[in-house]
Symmetry: C2
Subunit: 250 residues, 2 copies
């Protein structure tokens, strides 16, 4: 493997690039939502590739919002969403990739992971439920697993780290307390996890830097930029597949 | 990895070692069946480890017979058998380990694979459905997968290659034609696969030599020796776990 630039999250902006106009971005986002819907329809019709989109990020970093907005022109039949929560008893009685592998997308499908197998080297590491030896072994297993999906099932993997600033997280968490329409998402545990911010950043940097399938660092402090950022990457990635509708007699 | 002795199947006997008495072996086999039943009960009660037993071998090499005899004192509740046949359409729309991973044993369980993920670098290689580049990538994925089960779910993996001679296979296949109680197992395709014997041996040798979790080469031409060979390895392996019944208050 060629030496690669190690990322340092604190050096990467959490805000939209300067000079962008919110109105222009909103218009372009609409266009991209539509185009992505078309590409997803082709993916489903052609049935040759599969797509896995992974969202990881701190609490209130906008994962749910991205899921809600980015895929809204997609064919429901070709879409699966898996939201990973605390493992069940049966999941805990297996290796950490067991509950993940079963949801790997079949050909023609796009599967979204809201959180993912990365939790097993993030929350578990930060709380010291596992030691670094296990973190490293799990990281190697994750790389082997993602490579397997790529080479043996034509899976395109897009991984987004939702990059929020610590200040913006406080704003978002407070809104959940203040806004009756957001209160349902309030979880006192989120404020506890927030105290471990630096440890989480360290764990995320390790996961991002040690991954063989690259991550995209999505600045999310300006929500109007978030979906545009994600859609641009997804659309460009799927355009490269040069997909076409199956024709009779072929 | 330290250099290891590469095995050559043609140099390994398919018959029981000279000097063994069939009657002695039969008695010892009975004792081992019982002891293995006890150890399996402990495995299930303790719930700390899991065990995966894989049988691979040419047609009529005695895989089904071993499954029937070796585990007959085991607790059914703690036992799963998965027989791998031609992949279904949905299985084919995923990576080759997808259908296998879901059956990985949970803690406390012993799972038997009658055939396994190795078929994907055996039959698929011999029939040239995949090229050597894919064989090598799959072999690496298999090693990563088996290591994952070991380090992340305390899984003990026992892999048995059922080593039959080409002559004995002919005897066994012919019996399926001649014996009304065996005719149900007759499959004309088996005689076709037999023509690819040398290619299969080459593919098996590759799989065995490239595996990081070691294989046991079980001589099966004398069926009275087969179960003894397998049980001895399983019992010794499980004895090493020093399992004990959970006690109150711990």
């Amino acid at each position: 493997m060629a030496a690669k630039q190690l990322i340092k999250l604190s050096e990467i902006p959490t805000e939209a690039p300067k000079g962008l106009k919110k109105k222009d971005v909103a218009e372009e986002t609409e266009r991209l939502v539509e185009r992505f819907g078309e590409l997803h329809h082709l993916l489903y019709a052609e049935g040759k590739h599969s797509v896995l989109v992974i969202f990881q990020g701190m609490d209130a970093s906008g994962k749910d919002g991205a899921v809600r907005r980015v895929f809204r022109d997609c064919t429901i039949a070709g879409l699966d969403l898996v939201s990973y929560k605390k493992p069940t008893e049966i999941e805990m009685a297996h290796d950490f990739l067991w509950r993940v592998h079963r949801w790997a997308p079949e050909k023609g499908m796009l599967t979204i992971f809201n959180r993912s197998h990365y939790e097993d080297i993030l929350i578990q590491r930060v709380h010291k439920w596992i030691d670094m030896t296990r973190v490293k072994k799990r990281m190697a297993a994750i790389n082997a697993f993602e490579e397997l999906l790529e080479f043996d099932n034509n899976t395109l993997i897009f991984k987004f780290y939702m990059h929020i600033s610590k200040e913006e997280q406080a704003v978002q968490l407070q809104e959940r307390l203040d806004d009756p329409n957001k209160y349902w998402k309030h979880n006192p545990g989120d404020w506890e996890e927030r105290k471990l911010w630096d440890q989480y950043m360290e764990a995320y940097e390790y996961a991002i830097n040690e991954s063989s399938v690259p991550w995209h660092i999505c600045p999310v402090d300006n929500r109007w930029y978030r979906d545009y950022f994600i859609l641009k990457i997804l659309v460009e990635g799927l355009e490269k597949l040069n997909m076409s509708m199956p024709v009779p007699g072929k």
